[in-house]
């Protein structure tokens, strides 16, 4: 499942209390690479997520304080949360095969 963050409280529920691995996608409307990466993430979650991995899309202009708390500067900035901790992260575009393996790894 892919979620677009609707409120800061929503973040806490999805990332820390859903019992899923949450891939957080910090993005902005003006960011070209984000526009390319987000659909790849969504497709990977649908195909390989297995109900165990979710995508949480966070618009950094809408949720500036949240982005600031996580020290987001350049984007896309991807953080993988498992059991309340960030276990993996990267910045910038990644190709489809890499994203697919990432999701597959956390779905098992």
């Amino acid at each position: 499942m892919s979620y677009t963050l609707g409120s800061p409280a929503h973040f806490d529920i999805l990332v820390f209390r859903s019992g899923r691995v949450a891939i957080v996608d910090f993005y902005a409307d003006w960011c070209g690479p984000c526009k390319s990466l987000t659909p790849i993430l969504e497709k990977a979650i649908n195909s390989f997520g297995n109900g165990k991995v979710i995508l949480v899309k966070v618009n950094i202009n809408e949720f500036e304080e949240l982005a600031r708390n996580y020290n987001v500067s350049s984007i896309p900035d991807i953080r993988v949360f498992k059991d309340g901790e960030i276990v993996e992260s990267f910045k910038g575009f990644r190709p489809e095969n890499e994203i697919n393996s990432l999701v597959q790894r956390f779905a098992n």
């Binding site: 902005a28 003006w30 960011c31 950094i60 500067s73 984007i75």
Partner: protein, 502 residues
């Protein structure tokens, strides 16, 4: 004023204790951001506020000031869009089998430009945070000489006390005082983010903003007219200004001059009607346009920020702030950027002034800002780069008999194979002071890439290069810049400045 008898310590007030900040900068544009970051790097507690009052058409933007949002950056990208259109005309000659009648998509270009601006707004915010400058998205008004009141978008207010202030509030486009101007006209505040293509456009004004906007709109395929009250590019070299006007006419921009609009109305089909008095017949004439863009000058943002409460003097005529080494009449209140009286309104000038000021205040630096020989470029369809005196200013300053003007027309090699590219539109001249070893005191170049070319020559002028040094410098071939090192014909010799061939 020389730096010898200038008092670098602004007053005897206590440095610490009762203030929230060491330095508070009002305005987050080119100057304000550069100054605040530099002061923070030097260890001071710095705050900056920035607030964009929406344009009459409702346009707003983020942190970064005029240059980033509604000035240099979008202007250059739109200009580039137009230049690419020009190159498409050359392409067939160079062998590219492009289809005829290639159209331009306004939304695509607008989207790309606005996305880039968004990334800059974010980058500036991040940078302030990383340099520990506290940022307020609020409008500042002085309550007294050491206190400002900040109001944010939700109308929340807070008061800030600071040991020193830098005013860097910049300017906004003027509207003429005629019916319909504010309701129906747009300015440079709006053009770069228009959601729909502007269509048939009237640009009112003769400033570089007017001519640059008219230029890229024409290049992108729109029907463009320019209405000017008198001369073009006042303050710039007038020989070059006239050549720019001629080139713009040649590419199909219609000039309505001398004229000023008397009113703007909107028709039921949403088209706009501009009316003006025709110079020759003295009759009132009208024409319909889709868009009317006013570029008749900019007002300094000094009227609503409570300068009277702080005791800061403002020039009556221009609304700008007189300064000496960027200090206003109030010793601990400084000003930089477009609001300064009698200083060039350019981003690099504001940035350097801001940085040098922070260093003079907070380190051992005593280096004043140098406003002489600031190079500049105008990105009209034929570009113009300049550094130093215009020809008329050089004549006024030194006397016509004491200067020489070396000049030449030229045609870029890349144009020579393209029949449609005109002759005798590219031109360069340097002005030398005969009383000072033929020192180069003015540089002017009209042609493609003028901005890029002028930058290097500005260094030569700053270093005091003479005509001999210019002329002994070997040219790079084949370029257009090498024309400058080849200059040998003077205006006074009466010989032709046109070139024969390679």
């Amino acid at each position: 004023m020389s730096t010898n008898n200038y008092n670098w310590i602004d007053d005897n007030e206590p440095e610490q204790g009762e203030y929230d900040f060491d330095l508070f900068v009002i305005g987050g544009g080119s100057g304000g951001l550069a100054c605040s970051k530099e002061a923070a790097i030097l260890g001071k507690k710095v705050g900056v506020c920035d607030f964009v009052v929406p344009s009459p058409q409702g346009t707003k933007w983020g942190l970064g000031g005029t240059c980033v949002n509604v000035g240099c950056i979008p202007k250059k990208l739109y200009h580039q869009g137009a230049l690419i259109g020009e190159t498409l005309h050359d392409a067939k000659i160079y062998g590219w089998q492009l289809p005829d009648n290639i159209q331009h998509n306004w939304q695509q270009l607008c989207g790309v430009v606005q996305d880039h601006i968004g990334s800059l707004n974010w980058a500036y915010k991040t940078e302030l945070r990383s340099k520990t400058v506290q940022y307020f998205n609020s409008y500042a008004v002085f309550i007294d000489a050491h206190t400002i009141e900040l109001t944010d978008i939700k109308k929340n207010k807070q008061q800030i006390r600071s040991r020193r202030f830098v005013i860097a509030t910049g300017g906004r486009p003027k509207y003429p005082d005629i019916p319909g101007a504010r309701e129906f006209g747009i300015t440079s505040d709006d053009i770069f983010s228009l959601s729909n293509a502007p269509g048939k456009t009237l640009v009112v004004g003769a400033s570089y903003v007017a001519l640059e906007c008219a230029g890229f709109l024409k290049g992108l395929g729109f029907d463009v007219s320019v209405m000017a009250r008198s001369i073009l590019l006042r303050g710039f070299d007038q020989q070059i200004a006239e050549m720019i006007g001629n080139y713009m006419q040649r590419i199909g921009i219609k000039f309505i001059k001398p004229a000023i609009p008397s009113k703007i109305e909107k028709q039921s089909d949403s088209k706009l009607v501009a009316s003006w008095q025709d110079e020759s017949t003295k009759q009132i004439v009208s024409e319909t346009f889709d868009t009317i863009l006013f570029a008749i000058g900019r007002d300094a943002e000094t009227t609503k920020i409570g300068l009277d409460k702080a005791g800061v003097q403002v020039d009556n005529v221009t609304g700008k702030i007189p300064t000496i080494h960027e200090r206003t009449n109030v010793p601990h209140i400084y000003a930089i950027g477009d609001i300064l009286l009698a200083k060039p309104e350019l981003t690099p000038v504001a940035i350097q002034a801001g940085r040098f000021l922070a260093r003079r205040l907070y380190s051992n630096s005593r280096l004043p800002m140098d406003y002489i020989n600031v190079p500049t470029a105008v990105f009209t369809p034929i570009e113009y780069g300049a550094c130093g005196y215009s020809e008329e200013d050089a004549i006024k300053q030194f006397g016509e008999q004491n200067i020489d003007v070396y000049h030449s027309y030229y045609k870029p090699l890349e144009w020579k194979v393209c029949e449609h590219r005109p002759n005798n539109v590219c031109y360069t001249k340097i002005i030398v002071n005969k009383l000072d070893n033929q020192r180069v005191i003015g540089f002017h170049l009209l042609g493609p890439n003028a901005g890029e070319i002028t930058q290097g020559f500005a260094v030569a002028i700053k270093a005091g290069a003479t005509y001999e040094i210019f002329s002994n410098t070997i040219g790079i071939h084949p370029t257009t810049a090498e024309e400058v090192t080849d200059l040998s014909v003077t205006k006074s010799s009466g010989k032709s400045a046109e070139k024969a061939g390679c």
